[in-house]
Symmetry: C2
Subunit: 479 residues, 2 copies
């Protein structure tokens, strides 16, 4: 757990929770119908399907709460950002909320038990593309604002709300957009925003609520090499440069069989966890819990390098990686083709830890390849984010923890960071050091990005109550 920081008043609930809850009960069917309206509207960033309609729907709904709303272009025809501000212009606290209105493609359709854009309730779960990721979280927060205003009056905090439409394709315009509108990202006094509620989060397989405070960074590249002009008959191998061999040797120069990354200077940029971070990681349930689940699910006897328990968790969260995500060259069909490939390519991602940025990684990789004679290997940068970890002692973390205790009835598990990646740096360090907390409505079998994505109705309504409690927990903290 997160110790209550010195200088802060203990939590004291002022809101009328009973009235808030009664409102949700009384309006349950209408709120569900509203949720379904969001789910019925396809909004697939990868294809563009329904993107403008969805942005308009989000904007209308936020405006109905009294928000000032703008639909702001990113670049060309790319999905716009919906930006909303609501709550008192002189509130002590400002909360930034980050959501996205786009969804993953729903294919393969035939694996869905009900159509992906016809939300269907079965066994207490609502099935649809986006039911969790991220319309479930977006709508639960919208409903929290509605219920607060209907039962408590004016919001106790200022909310700045960024809903982007390209998260599922890697947020290609996100950082640039934020940079261009950096002056919007301030509290009511022009200072640093008090906290950011991230788009995702939720419950684990034991139904424990988890708050995550950060993400690893990522640098995703494609390595490409061209040898001879066109594919040749493989009998010419004694004389002709083989692109697949060049790629193989270049890759093997990057990481050895003992999983040591051999890029000079790579590990110099790795910072070790602080004692406070170590303390949080030691509280995270891993050994004999997630550890066993992973091993059974992957059908392996042990992790790479034989690590185990806390050591494995620390490695997962604090070691940078170099991962071959894909290999392509020459003949890949059945049987034999005696071909010497002219082209070969690999998709490689580097998961990054704090201080090791995508820019540094790219630079070190280029130097490494050149130094080892692989000037013929082209690097195409396909995207990346910096790592980000929020200060566990930040008031925002305390508020998120306090809200979890009250609404979910147990101490939340604090995940220092997720081994995944996302544009968190942009809404945290980049805008002055805003503490970010991931808290959502997902459950262990939510199946985001997969057929039969779903959210439990219990979690959805708990998510509305959690957002209300978080507004208040932030509001009653005194500076």
């Amino acid at each position: 757990m997160c110790a209550q920081p010195a200088g802060w008043l203990p939590y004291d609930a002022h809101m009328n929770q009973a009235a808030f809850d009664a409102y949700l009960d009384a309006n349950r069917e209408r709120l569900l119908e509203d949720y379904k309206d969001f789910l019925r509207q396809p909004s697939v960033a990868a294809t563009g399907q329904g993107i403008p309609e969805m942005a308009a729907l989000v904007a209308r709904r936020l405006a109905s709460l009294g928000a000032e709303v703008k639909i702001v272009p990113t670049e060309g025809d790319a999905p716009p950002v919906v930006w909303a501000e609501l709550g008192p212009a002189d509130a002590e606290r400002t909360l930034l909320i980050y959501n996205h209105y786009d969804v993953q493609p729903a294919e393969p359709f035939d694996l869905w038990e009900s159509p992906p854009f016809e939300p269907t309730v079965r066994d207490g779960h609502i099935f649809a593309r986006g039911a969790a990721d991220d319309k479930g979280e977006l709508v639960s927060r919208i409903h929290a604002v509605e219920a607060w205003q209907a039962t408590q009056g004016a919001l106790p905090i200022r909310i700045k709300w960024l809903i982007e439409g390209e998260e599922e394709v890697g947020s290609p315009h996100f950082h640039k957009w934020v940079a261009a509108h950096k002056d919007w990202f301030t509290n009511t006094r022009g200072g640093v925003i008090d906290g950011c509620l991230w788009e995702f989060g939720g419950f684990d397989e034991k139904e424990r609520f988890r708050l995550s405070l950060g993400v690893k960074g990522i640098c995703y590249v494609e390595l490409r090499v061209k040898g001879v002009d066109h594919d040749l008959h493989s009998s010419l191998a004694p004389l002709a440069k083989n692109a697949a061999w060049r790629l193989t040797w270049a890759l093997a120069s990057i990481k050895d069989i003992h999983e040591n990354i051999l890029i000079e200077g790579y590990y110099d940029h790795v910072r070790q966890p602080t004692p406070a971070e170590e303390e949080i990681m030691r509280e995270m349930p891993f050994e004999g819990d997630q550890e066993e689940w992973y091993k059974q699910n992957w059908k392996v006897d042990e992790f790479v390098g034989g690590v185990h328990g806390y050591e494995a968790l620390k490695k997962l969260l604090f070691s940078p990686t170099a991962t071959i995500c894909g290999l392509t060259s020459g003949w890949q069909g059945a049987g034999t083709k005696t071909v010497l490939p002219a082209l070969a390519s690999a998709k490689v991602d580097f998961r990054l830890v704090p201080n090791l940025t995508p820019e540094i990684t790219l630079d070190l990789l280029r130097r490494h390849l050149d130094k080892h004679g692989f000037t013929d290997i082209e690097i195409e940068w396909l995207g990346g984010y910096r790592a980000e970890i929020c200060d566990p002692a930040a008031p925002m973390v305390m508020a998120a923890t306090v809200a979890a205790r009250r609404i979910h009835g147990h101490e939340p598990i604090i995940d220092l960071l997720s081994p995944g990646s996302g544009p968190m740096y942009t809404l945290s360090s980049f805008i002055g050091g805003v503490p970010v907390v991931c808290a959502g409505i997902a459950h262990a079998d939510t199946r985001i990005h997969s057929p039969n994505e779903n959210a439990s109705l219990k979690n959805f309504f708990a998510g509305i109550r959690y957002a209300g409690a978080l507004f208040e927990a932030l509001a009653v903290q005194k500076k």
Copy 2:
């Protein structure tokens, strides 16, 4: 050139070449129509299209020459072998002819200027799938027998003729079939056959006729590795075994960046060329000829390892290889997918030199991988042949040379061996040491295996005359 071996009489032509040639002139249109009948009948081993019809057509045509013909099954529904014997049962000399009646698939159809199974003559060339490979050579030899019998009387030699139907899919049943019928492969006294005329061969880009005496061997494998049970999110890379990395490291252990094959014992089995072989290679036109053509065609400044001239040719023909023909793993589409692949595979071929057999190669490869900790890499054997080089001093080579001088009007270039591979061992060493010569009708732009495959009519008719001259050259050699 090939020096005339001691103990052999000089060539002395007894055949009536003028009558032979006049027959070809007088029957030109009918012979061309016969050729076209072969080309009109699809016979695609890869799909089975037209295979039984083609085997029947070949058998009928050979029977029309007075041959004893059998259509002999290989295995199950696989294409049968057509076996024919003709000529005097007590002839001094026996020639084995090897052809195949199957062709490569004709796709992509839209790149053909005329339909692949509607033979069309344009600019002195006949365009069709199989025009050269191998119906052109097969029919030219059939016509040689016909013209000989019509103008000279009985054949001067015994011919045993094997026409298989699976050459274009790697002759999967060939060796086993020959082994099962080994007693058919004898001369008229039960001894070793005097020579084998191979299916392919022809003229180079300078219209020089070339005789090839051998092939490199090949061992084609697929290397496969499975890591975790299914593809994982790449954020799990610090803990999960990555199949693509395992494959990369295993491959990199097989050959280093300086092109040294690191498989223990691999080079122990490599025999160096004999002085006689060296002499033939030194006569082969390479430097400033084929060498420049390769470099321009491949768009490279130099060969691998900087070799040049005779050294490059010797490397091409006498060094074994390890060639990655294909790589497959994980995400290969556009953009990014953050996946840790569960599976990875590579197609690898090893081109082999005399004494280094596919069986030895497989055994050494397995030992190598095990020794370096790659017991998780599976090897699937996809096919292979031994290397074979015919004795350049064999009477068959002399006969083929003599026939070339007479028909093509110049000294043929003797290619000691081709860097390609084929089942030559089976029809040479395996049946007692039969000398094999490759002599065909292809020209530099014949486009075998490609759209617009074609043969020049000039070469086709010269091929008929060459086969007739070869029958005689063999016949008049005295033991």
